[in-house]
């Protein structure tokens, strides 16, 4: 789902980039956040809550709430709502607490 026409705003989505969500190759635009690209592909579950293992997705969408923490290129606890998409990124759901890269 993407807004294609808006009565007031226009914007340049920039170049299309390919990235991976788990094993799936997906496409998004380089001007958008990882969260926006995932949503556009219908992926709304971003992590699992640590204790009750419930699905978690976008909540605040401004980098404050920790609801959308995912593993990006092996790095845990990435706030995908405020992190821009890049070509070839590997994005994974975070199950429980992330493992710190040594």
């Amino acid at each position: 789902m993407r807004i294609k026409k808006h009565p007031i705003l226009t914007w340049d989505k920039g170049k299309k980039v390919k990235f991976f969500f788990e094993d799936k190759e997906l496409e998004g635009y380089q001007t958008e956040t990882i969260a926006a690209a995932l949503h556009a592909s219908g992926i709304k579950e971003m992590r699992e809550s640590e204790e009750m293992h419930r699905p978690r997705g976008l909540f605040c969408a401004i980098g404050n709430c920790s609801s959308c923490l995912m593993i990006v290129n092996g790095e845990p606890n990435v706030r995908v709502c405020v992190t821009k998409l890049q070509e070839g990124m590997r994005v994974q759901r975070q199950l429980g607490k992330g493992e710190l890269q040594r």
């Binding site: 790095e75 606890n77 429980g96 607490k97 992330g98 493992e99 710190l100 890269q101 040594r102």
Partner: protein, 382 residues
């Protein structure tokens, strides 16, 4: 005016634990007066470490018995939650020959008192904490039974248990004055009314000298800001608290997964009641810790805060009675390690107040030792 057997000033872990230990031994009508919420001062702001690796017999024994109490605490206090006691050990790092020699002496003393700390080479230290940078490290000592407990939960455990025994807790209540008549404590004046009492216990932490001044005593004590920060949580990767007196830092991963770390910096930290936090601390702490434990550079800081050390000339607490003011007791000046020795300290205070023989000698901690020149200086503090 209500009348109480004892009024405890300060609702930190020390005040709550003394209240429980007194009530457990049969004293009724105890009130704890706290100016804010329970554990709002140094208790709730501390690094939450519990160690037995000290350089003085007195500290080794206090912390050993306190550690045993923490091991049993959930059951002993019938606590329906969990104090989160994790015995991941303490890894103390030694830099330079002088420090190493002191460490070896400490270990010998610890062994004599049944604290079975272990001597480690830098390589062995790295086996315990694989992400430790051992450049320049002379050696380390490790004790598995040291660790971490949740200061809020420990305070709450004492509070719940004391409340069940009938102790009254007045939070958001300030003590304005203590009235003395013929050298005896008679009354405590608070913002929620006066309380007649024969016994007042000063467990006010950073505010201890303000309370002492109310009975005309000036303690050889000062409060000093210490800062601390906590990171986002990750999967468990560091068992022990890593502590370096050379860098004047400590850092450990809590059971929750976050890393808590702090820095001792008495040169730049203001004395008094200032608990603002600074970017200078954040910068200095980050520089030291990312050099010592490099993978931590990938962690984000969630929060930083400050609390007050209540520091005595020998970094050991002042416990017991005060000559000339009957019924006034001190449990103050813990100099940054009050939380870890709280259980045993509270037991000793209760025994002393009730006139029972104390389990460990308490007289070495009395206020008069500074006049006598019998300081008990601990070599191992941050």
């Amino acid at each position: 005016m209500k009348s109480k057997e004892a009024v405890i000033i300060g609702g930190g872990v020390i005040g709550c634990a003394i209240a429980y230990e007194l009530a457990k031994r049969g004293m009724s009508d105890i009130t704890v007066v706290e100016q804010s919420y329970l554990a709002s001062g140094a208790t709730g702001r501390c690094g939450a470490g519990v160690r037995q690796q000290w350089g003085l017999e007195s500290n080794i024994l206090l912390s050993k018995y306190s550690c045993q109490a923490l091991e049993q605490m959930n059951e002993a206090l019938d606590y329906d939650d969990d104090i989160e006691f994790k015995q991941g050990g303490y890894l103390l790092l030694a830099y330079g020959d002088q420090q190493w020699e002191q460490f070896l002496k400490n270990v010998e003393l610890q062994h004599k008192h049944g604290v079975m700390s272990e001597i480690k080479t830098p390589e062995q230290a790295k086996e315990i904490v694989p992400h430790l940078n051992i450049t320049g490290l002379k050696g380390a000592t490790f004790h598995q039974k040291d660790g971490h407990a949740n200061p809020f939960k420990v305070t709450d455990a004492y509070y719940q248990a004391a409340k069940r025994l009938g102790v009254e807790f007045l939070t958001f209540t300030e003590v304005k004055d203590i009235v003395i008549s013929a050298g005896k404590v008679t009354k405590v004046v608070t913002t929620k009314g006066d309380i007649a009492t024969k016994r007042v216990i000063n467990a006010a932490g950073g505010w201890s000298n303000i309370v002492a001044n109310m009975v005309g005593i000036d303690l050889p004590i000062h409060s000093e800001r210490h800062q601390i920060l906590v990171t986002e949580p990750v999967k468990p990767m560091q068992g022990p608290m890593v502590m370096s007196f050379h860098h004047s830092i400590y850092c450990q991963q809590t059971p929750h997964g976050s890393f808590i770390m702090g820095l001792g910096d008495p040169v730049n930290e203001p004395r008094g009641l200032n608990i603002d936090n600074t970017w200078q601390f954040m910068q200095e702490m980050s520089e030291i810790i990312t050099n010592l434990l490099p993978p931590l550079r990938n962690l984000r800081v969630v929060r930083q805060w400050a609390g007050l050390y209540n520091v005595t000339p020998d970094a050991a607490p002042i416990l017991g009675s005060v000559p000339g003011v009957e019924g006034f007791y001190l449990a103050v000046g813990f100099s940054g390690h009050g939380f870890m020795i709280a259980p045993m300290t509270a037991q000793l205070m209760a025994e002393h107040i009730l006139g029972i023989e104390t389990t460990l000698p308490i007289s070495i901690y009395d206020l008069e030792r500074y006049k006598r020149g019998e300081l008990i200086r601990e070599p191992n503090v941050v």
